[in-house]
Assembly symmetry: C2
Homo-oligomer: 207 residues x 2
Amino acid sequence: MLKFFYAPNTCALASHIALKHAGAAYEPVRLSFANNQQRSAEYLGVNPKGRVPALVTDKGILTETPAILAWIAQSYPEAGLAPLGDPWGFAQVQSFNAYLCATVHVAHAHRMRGYRWASEESSFADMRRKVPESVGECFRLIEREMLKGPWVMGETFTICDPYLFTLAQWLELDGVSPGDVPRVADHRRRMSELPAVRAAIAIETGQ
Amino acid sequence: MLKFFYAPNTCALASHIALKHAGAAYEPVRLSFANNQQRSAEYLGVNPKGRVPALVTDKGILTETPAILAWIAQSYPEAGLAPLGDPWGFAQVQSFNAYLCATVHVAHAHRMRGYRWASEESSFADMRRKVPESVGECFRLIEREMLKGPWVMGETFTICDPYLFTLAQWLELDGVSPGDVPRVADHRRRMSELPAVRAAIAIETGQ
């Protein structure tokens, strides 16, 4: 059985929702970032990067959200989570998820994780001040150019949807008003009502 | 025919090498970052993110290096650039490329593009000072845990190899000594001798 390492309120939620959507059998394993468990020797043996999520399979360990999402889509094709027979459609899915991973999430990370890229308190404060602008710019681009509606890729729900939903959870904390990105906010609301989303969140919040 | 937008000395080189490896017919289109052409209205019509690379196909426009690389691998299967029939192997390729895209390239970008995430000159200077450590940490992890050898995924050359080669081009500028990551340095040297790599670089440098 799969083992899924996550921490609450992280991007791991995207993969967690996809696992639920796919009907995968898995054991969820919670790490506490407050206790720095992601840097423990035991977890570094699972993921030397010290990050979540990590998915332990019978073939080995997989990390990085876009890769885990695509693997879930390919491993549970009956769930229809990506256009597997259509390289162009699949590439569009990959492109959207790469943007979330490398641009949107990275912009967000400057609010709390500035120490990855700088050393001075003054720099961290400067980074925090910039987050509403940098994250806001990303979500306005998604609103205007990328989110086709009703789902990210149009009529069909894909692995892009749980990932967008996950990062959109942080809008208010990042200082971006959901009212500025109404289609993203509506997508978030509709996502929050889906059984797979509720189930993953219930596990992560221990409810 | 494909149209490939790139700028010299950017991550676009990875996709450019893959196009050459695949034997794709394409028209290369150079953007000058010095003249800020990537922010021109004309190019924003191609890629609203104002970044390179962008690949114009008969189906539409594709952006984001991991997505372009995977699309090339899937569209030119005879080139054997990814384990297409093996979801686990493909996921490992995706995972490596996601790490390059979202962690390694992002760490590097703090040397020159700090304005994306902060506003003060003092922050930019702080970020620049941190780059040898943050980029160095990434490449030491690749050296120790990820690069299987002789190619990234082992015996078979994949779309991971041009991407690693491209980011490893910047080691010295990022303050990381190639001597600290000898297997990465050896990979870079072997890559630099491949005809597809030479051909892509010759086009980008106008030689």
